[in-house]
Symmetry: C3
Subunit: 161 residues, 3 copies
């Protein structure tokens, strides 16, 4: 029976705040309409579901270096344009609050309440030396590209963001 619900599958490759917001807006809308909705977090998108502090520092020097220059955590996401050393991103967050739009933290809980599934890409995790404990508890599954493609081929809406 589950197969009969329409599915939406979003690859979230980007870690730019504006693109991440767009992805979650679409995911929340799809889940609200009863679609089986999944977000597959890969590459910079993993920053969204990273806890922001690494429980186990990665073993390889290159991974530790990458971690230093690319610290994860939803609070650290930046706009793709007009970041302006943080001022633009801060202004956008304040404006969203003034307009009573949900923050990214609220979008994450809202999407989970609506049943959106979070899948973390194992290839990127391996590359960056990340473990399950480095991710938010909200993550439902760790999987690779084959799992993604299998899900995508059964989805009505497929997006790469």
């Amino acid at each position: 029976v589950d197969e009969e619900r329409d599915r939406a599958t979003i690859v979230l490759f980007s870690g730019d705040l504006d693109r991440v917001l767009a992805a979650f807006n679409i995911a929340v809308a799809a889940a609200s309409m009863g679609m089986e909705t999944e977000i597959f977090f890969t590459f910079w998108g993993l920053n969204v579901i990273s806890s922001g502090r690494r429980v186990h520092p990665p073993s390889r020097p290159l991974q530790r270096m990458m971690q230093l220059v690319n610290r994860g955590g939803v609070k650290r996401l930046r706009l793709s344009r007009l970041h302006m050393m943080g001022a633009g991103t801060e202004a956008m967050k304040r404006l969203m609050k003034e307009m009573r739009l949900p923050s990214m933290e609220e979008m994450i809980s809202l999407s989970k309440d609506l049943g959106v599934r979070f899948i973390a890409c194992t290839t990127t995790m391996g590359l960056m030396g990340m473990k399950r404990e480095d991710l938010l508890p909200e993550v439902d599954e760790l999987a690779g590209a084959a799992t993604y493609v299998e899900k995508a081929s059964r989805s009505k809406v497929n997006l790469f963001i």
Copy 2:
């Protein structure tokens, strides 16, 4: 009967000239082939369908600040790479003209002539303090993410650009 035509639905999130050109090339090709084609303009993509002069300046200081640093209008779109303070974008536009490719202004009329529908995202409009009068007359509809998802779930081709 309308339901029986194939549909293409493009989210145009980006305001980069090169990505916008790609989106319109695909939309024009889809509409030429008889597909029911819609572009859903959101976030920086709204710059494409913004008239470029704001009839009503937005009410909030943060919105006025955003407007100053992110002036819309199709003539102000920049390449995502090689903008080079305007020189690269200008060179690309000149080259397109030399090669007799349509300019973005021409792509907009061409796509409208072929029946491509333009939908503006109400969430971004609210965030930026934009009103219907700030957009080109070519815009057919204002709608939110739920309308987009409903259309996307009935489309054969869904892209996020």
Copy 3:
């Protein structure tokens, strides 16, 4: 009978190393699962399948200028973030090698071995003054947006990367 296999069609617009890697990971997974998989290379994505040395220098001055600032070839691809004048991109490539992940050159042969078809966008080629001889021999077809849309409308998975 060919029509009965599921299809995946990826537009590769980007020439960023990270996005290109994501596109090839998905293409390789789709082809491994028996899907008819095609990558349509357009705009900066043409850099991936450019041989990196132009056999015939383009005729127009603006095209020669573009070629100077946008030299193609898979070895020249850069990360979209953390390129850091080359150091970040180099570190990522070294890390991929340490982790025994295939390099982009290996991804290209792997995808061809699995039957992924490479299509080069004729509009961008014309704009940039590129000829068939400027592309890798692995390219299967030159085509425009109409061919792409026709293929996309028969595909289960459509992505714009």
